[in-house]
């Protein structure tokens, strides 16, 4: 797989060929319908509808001047804060994480809006890429989160407790990212050029004019969050509500035109096509992997480990990390949870806490090569000169931060269990 990747074979073809090849080897031609069956199941998944809708929202916001004005205002706001705009982007990522339950849409949105703006403002490219991929992945760490819902349904644990439990660890991750950016930028101010004094000292009236750039984006965010938390729209529907909000915002600026809508639609179609075709094969692979006895193998590995409970937990986390290199989270969940959950319960660990650990582990899996969905999502909208290997190498420090946060929550379960225990 890695050989094919380096040879420059498109990932969509690698993953699909792998699924087809394994099916042929294991079941013969008669087993091929398995692949079609999974492809069908995947394109029929309602929660994924949020991806095109989020991409559409992003394309419209980007094509109207909303994004540019937002970042001009943010730069002014950031003032002399080291890495100011990157820090703000992380905060934007946290707010948007509350608007989406899946990974993908948010990274594409930040990739379309934040990346060009941060590069325009002279920010270090690798820092910008890292913060967008890592921050954008928080979509499944901060509620609502389909990962936590699927874990909850799988493990049979309370979804509201999972949502409460993941909130602090999610913010912890965000705090780690912010601290990292600020430390890097203090050590090397060239990574994040601060606006010149003259620009910060502009007259009050002009400042207010720039700040107006914040109004529309904030209104769109309130519009989406309001639709979710007001019980007006389901989480997936709220992505559509957001796209509508973006269209209204563009209209309010007098920038709405047929041409602009058509360009947004075309860009959405290509971006989503790239993402979906890449994921089709990866998803099909899960089915054949389960048939090949992946679960049995795992059961035997875990089954007779002469280790204390915490050691078993560490082994599980290690397995999740390793699987995260090559599989997507649905596959990992299907493969491991039937074995892990009963063991966790038998060891007397809190399955809610374990769910948070699982979810944090999946944050890592989004960033790790060779199968790193966050990198793919960003690549699908990044300028062509940003290569996949540049993205992956930008992500390394953030992966380390994620693993550090994961260890913290393992050692101090209270970070996760505090909020749910207060609500019980």
């Amino acid at each position: 797989m890695i050989g094919l990747m380096i040879a420059g074979v498109p990932l969509a073809w690698i993953t699909m060929s792998l699924a087809i090849g394994c099916t042929l080897a294991w079941l013969g031609p008669a087993g091929l319908p398995l692949v079609a069956s999974r492809v069908y199941g995947f394109v029929n998944e309602y929660v994924f509808v949020a991806i095109p809708l989020f991409v559409l929202m992003a394309c419209i916001l980007e094509r109207s001047g909303v994004a540019r004005d937002l970042y001009d205002a943010m730069r002014l706001f950031a003032g002399n804060l080291p890495g100011g705009v990157a820090v703000q982007t992380t905060l934007v990522a946290v707010v948007m994480a509350a608007m989406t339950g899946i990974i993908g849409g948010e990274i594409v949105l930040l990739g379309l809006i934040a990346l060009p703006q941060m590069m325009r403002l002279g920010y270090d490219r690798k820092l910008a890429i890292g913060i967008i991929c890592a921050g954008g992945s928080l979509g499944t760490m901060i509620p609502p989160s389909v990962v936590l819902i699927v874990y909850g349904l799988t493990a049979g644990v309370s979804i509201s407790e999972l949502f409460l439990a993941s909130a602090l660890p999610g913010l912890l991750l965000a705090a780690f990212y912010i601290a990292y950016v600020m430390i890097r930028c203090i050590l090397n101010p060239a990574l994040a050029p601060r606006p010149p004094r003259a620009e910060l000292d502009i007259p009050f009236r002009q400042k207010m004019k720039l700040l107006k750039g914040l109004i529309l984006p904030i209104l769109v965010v309130i519009w989406v969050l309001g639709s979710i938390y007001g019980g007006i729209a389901s989480v997936t529907e709220s992505a559509g509500v957001g796209a509508l909000g973006a269209i209204i915002a563009a209209a309010a600026r007098g920038e709405l035109s047929f041409r602009m809508l058509r360009e947004s639609a075309m860009r959405t179609m290509i971006t989503v096509g790239v993402i979906i075709w890449l994921t089709l094969g990866a998803n099909a692979f899960i089915g054949i992997y389960n048939i090949m006895g992946g679960t049995t193998y795992l059961r035997q590995t875990i089954g007779d480990l002469p280790l204390p409970p915490f050691g078993i937990l560490l082994v599980m986390m290690g397995i999740l990390l390793v699987l995260g290199f090559v599989m997507d989270w649905i596959g990992i969940c299907l493969l491991t949870m039937p074995i892990f959950v009963p063991v966790i319960k038998a060891l007397g660990y809190d399955p809610v806490w374990f769910g948070v650990l699982f979810c944090m582990n999946m944050q890592v899996s989004y960033l790790t090569p060779p199968f790193g969905p966050a990198a793919f999502y960003l690549k699908s909208v990044a300028p062509p000169e940003i290569e996949l290997h540049t993205i992956f190498s930008s992500l390394l420090p953030f992966i380390l931060l994620q693993v550090a946060a994961l260890m913290l929550v393992m050692l101090f379960p209270g970070i996760a269990t505090l909020l749910p225990s207060l609500m019980r």
Binding site: A7, A36, V43, E237, E263, M269, L388
Partner: protein, 174 residues
């Protein structure tokens, strides 16, 4: 050869609007449910159908634009001849994948059409009878497009869009 590319562009251009169309569909449902307490039975299924058709039929356009994600750093440093061989190899892997997907999907597509398979939901839309055969159709379109790319690589006429660098949607249809 030309008509396949035109067809792929046409389909891509049409399904691009399907995502846009989902917005009013969802907005209508939210409005009817929240304000008038009379949710539709069709918004859910229609949204899925629009998006699923969009995913599948955009495959040809994405392939034509050579927009699929790949690690191209090695290709960029090798001599042009080697690069051409590597690109050809990539297309061949794609052809294998699509041939496999066609073999995998045509029977279930045919069956879904003959039994008139539906969702079984409140609207009971014929989504499976549309989507299942479309998997085969999409794979055929991508396969044909890949054959065109192979032919172009062999005759040395190069791709229309630079590999992986299409900035689709910029100025006119792609």
């Amino acid at each position: 050869m030309r008509w396949i590319e035109r067809l792929n562009d046409l389909l891509g251009g049409v399904v691009a609007w399907f995502y846009m169309l989902s917005v009013p569909v969802i907005a209508y449902e939210v409005l009817m449910r929240y304000i008038l307490n009379s949710p539709t039975s069709w918004s859910f299924d229609l949204t899925i159908l629009l998006c699923a058709v969009g995913y599948l039929l955009s495959g040809g356009t994405v392939t034509k634009a050579e927009a699929h994600i790949a690690v191209t750093s090695l290709q960029d440093v090798v001599p042009p001849r080697v690069k051409r061989v590597m690109k050809l190899f990539g297309h061949l892997v794609g052809i294998f994948a699509m041939a496999g997907l066609i073999a995998a999907s045509w029977k279930s597509g045919l069956r879904a059409v003959t039994i008139g398979e539906r969702t079984g939901g409140a609207w009971d839309a014929p989504t499976p009878a549309i989507i299942k055969p479309l998997i085969t159709v999409a794979a055929v379109l991508v396969l044909l497009q890949l054959l065109i790319l192979v032919a172009r690589e062999l005759t040395g006429r190069g791709a229309v869009a630079p590999a992986g660098k299409g900035t689709p949607g910029e100025g006119g249809p792609i």
